[in-house]
């Protein structure tokens, strides 16, 4: 009898595998449940392990969700490291405290085509057009999910969502009641701890507060020396959710942090020795407060009004950057006629910055900016209509964002997407969108000494060439970069235990940043060669991203993804001076729970050659393979002991070379232990 069952199961799985595109093949247990009485149904053990492998995202976009459980089981201790779980994202660790994170190429320390939001607050800074990843943190245990949307998200989310949007969403405070204490330590994750306490403040109000901190130790230079990139951080925050009435909910939250970041840097200077290295100690601090009111009129109509204030101050060796941002956002969703679901919104953002170049103790400086302080404003509006063409089968989504910013003026960013669900098991979608990446402050206003070529002795002494200083200069006429993206995707649950998500895209970029050599000048015995930012570069990228989940056994799940990217620039104007992200990336994760109280995880990653450009020249950073392992044991309810090994394949490996300043740093193998106690 048992044998028979197994046979049925096998033939059922084979059958489904063969008939990929056929309607759902109903396997074994479906009718079993229908034959049971209510009493039996209430007594039977239920499992929902395969749920993740079966559910299909309904968004007509390349969307991927990283869950709280995924983060925990990956052993990732920071947001950027957790982002390695998603397909299509290029995450490279520059050193212990810096990351280069991008979607679909164009990676860099300030990768400028990826928008990042934490609970609705924009983490992308106007100063450099990018994200200071080391400033962005949350209590990892309280993350609900990270939504990663590859491709333009500008119609809904606004400018700079050119190649993707990352939404980091923390849990509602009602879901984080009680205490959670996490402490641990190891080789790279030297010591860390976090404590959160959640409570019910009144009948309709819940809240939580947390504090966390860590010391992370340094990595290794390629030469084998200590890289001196150790850093520490303390952060605290709170969230309060109040149900004011049956229709109104109010969320208020905030964070505050302080970090000390060490790095060994390299700078050029015009006087001998024409370069110097320094051990910089940078400090950064910041905070934010956000409040959001949501009013629900009916199941198909609600609005939200959100306000936030964000501030940060950062002292780097070469410069000081501080910024205050005030943002107001209104969104209204409602149903119209029988087939339309509309969302529209208005936004206003005010920014005030203070950026100045620092003078090093040896008297040289590499960074100047004029003016040092600017106020800027952003007005935006958007509208999107999701139109049901055929009930439960076919949808068309049209939308656009219109905004005006002080750097590039008016921008329109439309998008059209279609989604077809021929069957419960299949989703097909396609879209075309336009998005822009608006200019940063430095791109318009700064001047950076990028490199100095020391004087060369000529064959007929005593004559020699003077030192040549290359300076990168901002350009007040620098405009937005733009892209038109064509995307298509297919999602399916191949069987009851396996799902597949495939996306293809083609991006056509115009007006990309290109440093154009200007007229050289002679100054104090040196030749100054300016490189002026222009919008002269064109390029295109295309690629494929595949993500699959296979629940092989009730207690063993596989998550695999593969990304292929091709980047091509118009070389007719010269060397494009732009980094090229790895062509291929693979992530393979196995999550095993052989017993209820034991988790075993392994995570294998392959990253292809990374082409970086910068003051160290153009470098091909070799591809690498590495893996992480995690074992966790829960001896008592609420207590978990975990041991995590990271980057185990080699003693050290190089992932990325920053455009300037940071000396190439290889990431060391690491190991840490962690105790979590919920009570």
């Amino acid at each position: 009898m048992k044998n028979n069952n197994k046979k049925t199961a096998i033939s059922c799985h084979l059958f489904s595998a063969i008939l990929l595109f056929s309607p759902w093949v109903s396997c074994e247990e479906q009718n079993e449940a229908l034959n049971l009485s209510v009493e039996d149904l209430l007594n039977v053990e239920v499992t929902s392990v395969a749920k993740k492998a079966q559910s299909l995202n309904d968004a007509p976009a390349a969307a991927f969700v990283i869950s709280n459980e995924d983060i925990k089981r990956s052993g990732a201790t920071s947001i950027p490291d957790a982002l390695r779980l998603a397909p299509g994202l290029d995450v490279a660790k520059i050193d212990a405290n810096k990351w280069a994170v991008s979607s679909r190429g164009f990676n860099g320390r300030f990768a400028n085509k990826l928008l990042v939001l934490i609970d609705g607050r924009n983490a992308y800074t106007r100063s450099f057009a990018g994200v200071y990843w080391e400033n962005q943190d949350v209590m990892m245990e309280d993350i609900d999910r990270i939504e990663v949307i590859r491709g333009p998200g500008a119609a809904l989310w606004g400018a700079n969502a050119v190649n993707g949007v990352i939404n980091i969403i923390t849990k509602h405070s009602a879901e984080t009641q009680g205490a959670s204490l996490n402490v641990g330590g190891g080789t790279k994750e030297q010591d860390f701890g976090s404590f959160r306490y959640g409570a019910k403040l009144s009948e309709n109000t819940t809240a939580r507060a947390y504090v966390k901190g860590f010391n992370r130790s340094d990595n290794t230079h390629l030469s084998g020396d200590k890289a001196g990139d150790d850093w520490d951080k303390v952060q605290g925050g709170f969230r309060m959710d109040a149900q004011i009435s049956s229709r109104d909910a109010l969320t208020t939250q905030g964070d505050i942090y302080q970090t000390q970041v060490n790095q060994s840097s390299y700078y050029p200077q015009i006087t001998p020795l024409f370069q110097f290295t320094g051990k910089d100690t940078n400090s950064a601090s910041g905070g934010n407060v956000l409040s959001r009111l949501q009013h629900t009129f009916s199941p198909t109509s609600d609005y939200s009004l959100q306000f936030y204030y964000d501030t940060y101050t950062r002292d780097e060796g070469p410069y000081h950057d501080s910024r205050n941002t005030l943002d107001l956002d209104f969104q209204h969703r409602f149903a119209l006629l029988d087939r339309h679901e509309l969302i529209w919104g208005l936004g206003y953002r005010f920014g005030h910055d203070h950026i100045v170049g620092n003078v090093f103790p040896n008297g040289s400086s590499v960074f100047t900016i004029n003016p040092v302080s600017v106020n800027d404003q952003l007005y935006s509006s958007f509208i999107q209509d999701e139109l049901t063409l055929i009930d439960n089968k076919l949808w068309l989504t049209l939308g656009s964002r219109f905004e005006h910013n002080d750097y590039s003026g008016f921008e329109g960013q439309p998008s059209a997407r279609v989604m077809w669900a021929p069957h419960n098991q299949h989703r097909l979608w396609a879209g075309v969108s336009r998005a822009v990446r608006t200019p940063s402050r430095v791109e318009q206003d700064f001047n950076l000494l990028s490199s100095v070529t020391p004087p060369q002795a000529l064959p007929f002494p005593p004559f020699g060439s003077p030192p040549i200083a290359v300076t990168v200069q901002g350009n007040p006429d620098y405009r937005s970069e733009q892209v038109i993206t064509y995307e298509a995707g297919y999602r399916t649950t191949l069987t009851q235990t396996m799902s597949l998500d495939v996306t293809g895209f083609y991006n056509d970029y115009r007006d990309l940043r290109y440093p154009l050599p200007g007229t050289p000048s002679f100054n104090a015995g040196s030749i100054i060669q300016p490189l002026i930012f222009t919008n002269q570069l064109q390029g295109k990228t295309y690629g494929v991203e595949i993500a699959t989940i296979w629940q092989m056994l009730d207690w063993w799940r596989w998550d695999a993804n593969y990304s292929w990217l091709h980047t091509q620039f118009d070389n007719s104007i010269g060397n494009p001076q732009t980094g090229i992200s790895p062509k291929q990336r693979v992530s393979l994760r196995g999550a095993l729970s052989p017993r209820r109280d034991i988790d075993l995880d392994f995570w294998l990653r392959y990253v292809d050659t990374n082409f970086t450009v910068g003051t160290f020249g153009n470098t091909s950073v070799k591809g690498y393979v590495t893996f992480d392992l995690r074992v966790a044991w829960r001896p008592y309810a609420g207590i978990e002991l975990a041991l995590v090994g990271q980057n185990l394949a080699a003693q050290k490996h190089l992932e990325y070379i920053q455009e300037n300043q940071t000396l190439p740093t290889a990431i060391d193998r690491g190991m840490y232990g962690k105790i979590s106690w919920s009570f």
Partner: protein, 178 residues
């Protein structure tokens, strides 16, 4: 000895591939399948007020993703007394008047409350997937407690809508309200 083990390794691997359940958990069933079967039974134990417009079918509306929709295809067209069950997948949160049963897999809290407000006192049996669903105004909440489904019934909500849930079912349920 090790050679013999080696010989059987491929077989063992194959066995692992296809045996989708640990022997110790052989009695377990997939949660959504059980929820769908329970929902069918709950409908069978419910009596609608006589004035309810109801022809040959009991219209069972489902709000949920593809997994939920899939699990309910198995109970589509099943007989309920003299009538048959008819599954309708709601892609929009409207036209509740077309439903006799509303099954909500997951909805944001604020929206769920407005759904309850909208259908209040209508002869519409509401079934959801948590204790909170029943506590906040739904009629039946199916909660997974340590791997088994617990049935919560909000009798007040059912009575307000003039729905009668059989005592045989109530015996197996935890009652919320009077």
């Amino acid at each position: 000895m090790s050679k013999r083990v080696g010989k059987y390794l491929p077989l063992l691997a194959l066995g692992l591939l296809f045996n989708t359940r640990l022997p110790t958990q052989a009695q377990s069933l997939e949660e959504q399948t059980v929820l769908a079967a329970l929902a069918l039974n709950i409908v069978r134990f419910t009596t609608w007020p006589s004035e309810t417009p109801m022809k040959e079918t009991i219209d069972f509306c489902v709000i949920g993703d593809n997994v939920i929709q899939q699990s309910f295809t198995d109970i589509d067209h099943k007989p309920v007394g003299a009538k048959t069950l008819h599954i309708i997948n709601l892609s929009r949160l409207r036209n509740f008047e077309d439903c006799h049963v509303l099954y909500v897999s997951e909805l944001k809290q604020n929206i769920l409350l407005q759904v309850f407000a909208e259908i209040k006192k209508r002869p519409l049996l509401t079934i959801g997937e948590s204790y909170d669903f029943a506590a906040q105004g739904g009629m039946v909440g199916l909660e997974n407690v340590n791997g088994k489904i617990t049935l919560h019934v909000n009798l007040t909500a059912a009575h307000e809508s003039n729905l009668n849930i059989s005592a045989r079912l109530l015996k197996l349920a935890k009652i919320i309200g009077n």
